[in-house]
């Protein structure tokens, strides 16, 4: 696959002091949909703006379609960008907004008309072409902003949190449309968001950024199933992963036990890090399984007793905020039998739960919290 965007050793420093991007290396393949995700202030928007040429680069280089554009102005990079606040030109009609980029590039008139019609049809905004942005709703403005990118047939599409100004319903609908659009036009895209749901649903690959550093690059499921460190583990997935700081030890009778301040788990037959010692255990909310009264859902060791603090019914699933002694954990389930148990519980009730041995995440106890390799006991 051709590389459409390549970023090498990119650094960005503000005022010679604040380092916002630290040695970023990244490749985006042709027709790939790459999502940059991270908490606010992690440098994801800055990274996107340096790709666009709207911010200068302190060090490193950026290549688009094999051409070094590190110091090229935005106009010469053959990119299209969709902004968070849409950035439609208020004094122009929708048609003029769409035509502006083509006009600036001296495209023949017939071609401009054809491109506008194609984009308008694709986005279903044909009836809005002669209106001004002020006369459009938020969702319509967003479509026009995307249309402005489509007509350009640019080498690279950049999206800067394009859905964050839409209300929840419109956001999920537009998200689907964006995914659909990408399947139609196969534009190479870099998409910035702080919403991990958008990242998971849209991306071919996700780049998780924190503090100007790339934490991990991978497909959505890779990131979910094998997060590279504690930060990625906590950022990807909703509700958040539960973390237990503690230590792994081998008892004299050969049992391997993970003990933490509020309790301990007996993980004798589970895949575990090779060495004993302090580490952090990560458990996804669905890996803590509330035990039902009977049936398959009643099976499994009683690893932990969870005191109900709050129940959040979502209809198809429940989120239960519980306490293991004083430690707060979140438990999620969509299984009807487990739901029945959860729903019949009241605040203060104590539910028995089992931990899914196949979904344990182990991280080093240091600040970075890198993922620890595990070995299955039977393979030893």
């Amino acid at each position: 696959m051709d590389v459409q965007l390549e970023i090498k050793n990119l650094e960005k420093t503000y005022d010679k002091k604040v380092k916002v991007l630290k040695d970023i290396n990244l490749q985006v393949d042709k027709e790939e949909f790459l999502v940059l995700v991270g908490p606010s202030g992690c440098g994801k928007s800055t990274l996107l703006r340096t790709i666009a040429g709207l911010e200068s680069v302190t060090d490193g280089c950026i290549e688009i379609a094999g051409r070094d554009v590190t110091n090229a102005p935005p106009a010469d990079r053959d990119i299209a960008m969709v902004f968070q606040d849409y950035a439609l030109y208020p004094h122009m009609t929708v048609r003029e907004n769409l035509a502006f980029g083509l006009k600036m590039r001296k495209t023949p008139k017939e071609q401009i008309t054809a491109e506008i019609n194609r984009a308008a049809k694709m986005l279903d905004i044909e009836h809005l072409l002669d209106r001004r942005p002020a006369q459009l709703s938020g969702g319509q403005r967003q479509r026009v902003a995307i249309g402005r990118a489509i007509v350009r047939r640019a080498k690279l599409f950049l999206f800067d949190e394009p859905l964050s100004n839409l209300d929840a319903k419109l956001r999920s609908q537009t998200r689907i449309e964006l995914a659909d659009l990408h399947q139609k036009i196969h534009a190479t895209s870099v998409y910035v968001t702080h919403d991990q749901v958008e990242a998971m649903t849209l991306a071919d690959r996700i780049v998780v950024l924190n503090g100007g550093d790339i934490q991990q690059i991978g497909s959505p499921m890779e990131l979910y199933q094998t997060p590279g460190n504690k930060f990625v583990a906590s950022f990807i997935g909703s509700p958040n992963m539960n973390f237990f700081d503690g230590a792994l030890e081998t008892k004299t009778d050969g049992r391997r036990v993970f003990s933490f301040a509020e309790g301990e788990f007996d993980f004798t037959n589970a895949p575990l890090p090779k060495n004993d010692g302090p580490c952090t255990l990560g458990l996804r909310p669905e890996s803590i399984k509330v035990l039902a009264k009977k049936g398959r859902e009643a099976e499994g060791p009683v690893d932990v007793k969870v005191k109900v603090a709050l129940l959040e019914p979502h209809g198809h699933e429940n989120h239960l905020v519980g306490l293991i002694e004083s430690k707060q954990v979140i438990v999620r389930s969509a299984n009807p039998h487990r739901l029945a148990v959860m729903n019949s519980s009241k605040k203060g009730d104590v539910l028995e739960a089992s931990v899914d041995r196949s979904a344990l995440h182990w991280f080093a106890a240091d600040e970075l919290g890198e993922r620890l390799e595990t070995v299955h006991p039977t393979l030893n």
Binding site: R49, A52, G53, L54, P73, P74, A75, I79, A80, M81, F83, Q84, D85, Y86, A87, L88, Y89, P90, H91, F100, G101, M104, R105, R132, P133, A134, Q135, L136, G138, R141, R148, R152, L158, N165
Partner: protein, 350 residues
């Protein structure tokens, strides 16, 4: 009370409200009269014969002695309404006598003979004579032309310079930005007469004394600080993402400024333009310092010719004032539609 509908019983609070309204309206009426009276007076004088204005008792204010209310009414109405124009006068056959007393030798070959005739014959005075005299006997048309050229150039140049400077202040950070901004403010605090001599020296040293260019330069620069402040404030309200979008769409920073930012800033541009224009249009001080030639005078200097040391032709002066008010009024009415905010609404979220 008579205006109230039948069957209307007036409660205490309503009568109080009525009284309040009456007082307010009385005050407002008085204010309106005070504001309109001078204008009406000027318009009325502009139709009068200069002699009748000068000798009129209208300047004896207030009416002396035991004045009745009627005296006041008469005084004010005389001041505003040029009664004498409505009196039917027997027109003396002056033309004939003049020709008899001072016959002109008409040379049939002289192409300008008819003009000589016109000069010699004092046309009978009409009610609008002050206005026609302005343009036939004086260089008033030239003065207005001068003023228009100077004011429009000064306003255009001033607004252009202010817009570019304001853009720099609003969007870029550069060393000394704060200092320069503060310095611009302080120049506004220096009274204009204090700057006259330095401005004169600068213009003189540029060899632009007694030219349009010198005056335009001085005028466009004096309104710069105000225009910069207005425009800078407005530019800061225009979202930066619009320019980013334009740059991604293929604009250079300069074309983004001209194609996106300026068209969106018409309200602020209109305000800056009007301010520069009116201050240039009504300027007397700079013009009197920098302009010597009669042909180059703006109307502010020219109109002073009518009120000389020995005679003040108030009729002409007033007619001139009325004429010069017309262009600026038209400009204000025309530009009112541009001075509407809210043009940037809808381009970005919101």
């Amino acid at each position: 009370m008579l205006l109230l509908p039948r069957g209307f019983s007036m409660s205490k609070s309503l009568s109080k409200r009525f009284l309040q309204l009456s007082v307010i309206h009385l005050l407002l009426t008085a204010a309106c009269i005070t504001a309109i009276f001078p204008v009406a007076r000027v318009v009325s004088i502009s139709f009068r014969n200069t002699d009748t204005v000068a000798t009129s008792d209208a300047f004896n204010f207030p009416p002396r002695g035991e004045a009745t209310f009627g005296d006041y009414v008469e005084f004010f109405s005389q001041a505003v309404i040029p009664y004498e124009l409505f009196e039917v006068k027997e027109t003396p056959d002056t033309t004939v006598t003049v020709v008899e007393e001072d016959p002109i030798l008409v040379d049939p070959d002289d192409p300008f003979a008819s003009l000589d005739e016109l000069d010699a014959v004092d046309a009978p005075r009409k009610w609008y004579s002050n206005y026609t005299d302005l343009f036939t006997k004086h260089l008033f048309a030239q003065w207005i032309y001068n003023s228009l050229v100077i004011s429009f150039s000064a306003a255009f140049i001033g607004v252009f310079l202010a817009a570019t400077a304001a853009y720099a202040f609003a969007r870029f950070s550069f060393p000394g930005k704060k200092l320069a901004g503060g310095f611009l403010f302080t120049t506004q605090m220096i009274p204009a007469p204090m700057m006259i001599i330095p401005v004169y020296l600068v213009v003189k040293s540029l060899n632009l004394g007694n030219t349009y260019a010198g005056l335009v330069l001085a005028m466009s620069v004096t309104t710069l600080p105000f225009s910069i402040m207005v425009l800078k404030g407005y530019f800061e309200t225009v979202p930066k993402s619009l320019e980013d979008a334009a740059r991604v769409d293929g604009c250079s920073p300069i074309s983004a400024f001209f194609r996106i930012l300026l068209p969106l800033s018409t309200p602020a541009l209109a305000i800056a333009f009007l301010f520069s224009f009116t201050s240039a249009w009504t300027d007397f001080l700079l013009a009197s310092t920098l302009i010597d030639d009669v042909e180059l005078r703006p109307w502010t200097l020219g109109i002073m010719e009518f009120s000389g040391n020995f005679d003040a032709r108030w009729g002409l002066f007033a007619a001139g004032s009325v004429v010069i008010a017309i262009p600026s009024m038209m400009l204000f009415l025309y530009s009112a539609k541009y001075v509407v905010s809210g043009l940037t609404l809808g381009g970005v979220k919101g």
